[in-house]
Point group: C2
Chain length 344, copies 2
């Protein structure tokens, strides 16, 4: 490959001038710059990332750590990745996804210590996450997507589960619903400290209590069949249920089927509101779901911006961000039917 030296010779300037022309670090006259650019084009010059990284002590690469093997990659994550990659690029960074099991915190740290990445975006953060401690101890710049139990002083972006569940319940009560169930993620996810499972249920319970309503929540595996069972449980606990908030896409598929199998029409008899939903999921059921979809793209952009701020050490520490999911009207929620509760 052509080196900068080759370009310099060809453009009849010194090596350093080529560097300045490329980086804009110092002024270069228009004529010189034009010659340099011509030389680069003729030689098909491509700067060597390693040499650049060694000299500048920056790789201009951000590592998005994702535990590929452990949890599914949902549509939300895709929106997130696409937006994060675009944002990184517009700031002159590469965004790469680096697969690491959650327990390999040291390896993640060494990526940055060894100079392969300038900073780390941590996905699937759980309430108590070793990686956070390791990275903090090593002074590695990082931003969490999600947050630990006590994220004070850390850089993060996350879904605002309190507000999302509050708005979900508000949407349903505005339609006259009072007996509203909650279909959560799995018990396993909760036991592993998966934060959404915990935070969303807490938010839902609070939202119900604030209105003097009785919360009714079930955990449920991420399978359609489990969703059917979960609906059965909910209806057994309260046969007068008129609405369900779900935060479990696979289970939601089963849930709507089970409701219909029991002769309960959606939304005429029971409303279904799917929260923290991936794009495209709404269209997958019949009727199309009313959803509150996760702000994946916004989180991707904001997460990268925060990480870059941390890497470049410009802003002291940008404030954390909490974004609610956004309501998107489908056809699975409607005004509560007139049935007095429990008489159906």
């Amino acid at each position: 490959m052509a080196t900068m030296q080759d370009v310099a010779r060809r453009a009849q300037v010194s090596l350093s001038t080529v560097s300045y022309a490329l980086s804009g670090t110092r002024p270069v006259s228009a004529a010189t710059k034009a010659r340099i650019e011509a030389a680069m084009a003729e030689l098909g010059f491509q700067p060597n990332a390693m040499a650049r990284g060694l000299a500048s002590k920056r790789s201009r690469t951000l590592a998005l750590i994702f535990p590929a093997m452990e949890l599914g990659i949902s549509g939300t994550v895709q929106e997130f990745v696409a937006s994060a990659a675009t944002t990184a690029r517009s700031h002159g960074y590469h965004l790469v996804l680096w697969p690491f099991p959650r327990d390999e915190a040291d390896e993640v740290r060494d990526l940055v210590v060894g100079g392969m990445a300038d900073g780390v975006l941590l996905m699937e953060v759980c309430l108590d996450d070793v990686r956070v401690d390791t990275l903090r101890a090593a002074g590695v710049p990082f931003t969490m997507i999600g947050r630990t139990e006590d994220p004070d002083g850390l850089s993060y972006v996350d879904i605002d589960f309190d507000r999302t569940t509050e708005e979900a319940v508000a949407h349903l009560t505005a339609l006259g619903h009072e007996r509203i169930g909650f279909l959560n993620h799995s018990e396993r996810s909760r036991d592993e400290g998966y934060a959404p499972t915990v935070r969303a249920e807490a938010g839902y319970r609070a939202a119900m209590r604030r209105r003097g309503l009785e919360p009714l929540a079930v955990l449920c595996d991420e399978r359609p069949a489990a969703g059917r069972d979960a609906v059965a449980h909910l209806l057994q606990a309260d046969p007068g249920l008129t609405a369900v908030v779900t935060m479990n896409e696979m289970a939601t598929f089963g849930a709507t089927v089970e409701l219909q199998a029991r002769g309960l029409r959606v939304p005429d008899d029971v409303s279904v509101l799917s929260i923290v939903t991936s794009p495209g999921v709404a269209a997958m059921t019949n009727p199309p779901l009313t959803t509150m979809h996760a702000p994946g793209a916004a989180l991707g952009r904001l997460g990268v911006e925060r990480l870059i701020a941390a890497v470049e050490g410009t802003s002291p520490t940008a404030d954390p961000v909490l974004l609610p999911c956004l309501l998107e009207e489908g056809e699975s929620t409607a005004r509560a039917s007139g049935h007095p509760p429990g008489t159906r």
Copy 2:
């Protein structure tokens, strides 16, 4: 951070000896090596990847290019990634996922030209893929997951669609089925040159014809509702259908529902065989699907091994690999019912 020079001083050896101790390129006495290792541990030494890369002209990184924003990341891809990452690591490489839209072939090339990666794993290769031409022209080592229309001379690993569809049809005919439909991916995927859509249908048709059976295939969007419509079409075209081979997970969910909605029991009246399936999908329907699941893990391992061979230039060009999907008995296929065709 501590440098190799620091380690050398502390261990009272020269810099080069440290390097040899670390790489094993030249023999180092046990005593010296022990001192060096102690020094490294005390200093928390972590070699600088950029310096190493600059000096050795190798990044020891492989880039898995994936068009994140365009197609979903299925369970198969996850198996694939996990296995590829593990294999890469066991050979001393990092595997990173690099999100690039399919049309940014130049950027992909520049990753390697610029030294950020030593080679490229190309996912979601379609029949006519610009990236392949660009990479080949630049002499960049790469291996395809999938293959172009005419992949001669290129390094690739792929699903053996001919054998998979042949075995799918064989499985069903062995059960006495003769009227077997095929539920394919979407028309859009075919128009974009998505290879599986084309190859699987061709394989299915050939397998049917070999047996003197009439093929009946439909394209179908990747949504459950579309799967329901597709089944309706198939049954309209041949009301005597007793089995369906599906290669479209989302549509398969809808397909089983539609069959049951029409009073056709699975598998008693109609068998469903889902091919090129992700792990875990089988359990998502009722009854659990009989599947032929995609050999994601094997492809990941083999793909990385081939790429490393190309990068290191050891083997001339490892032979391409084609692997069939593996049959996994579920409860959605059974012996054809006794109905004379069309009399149901």
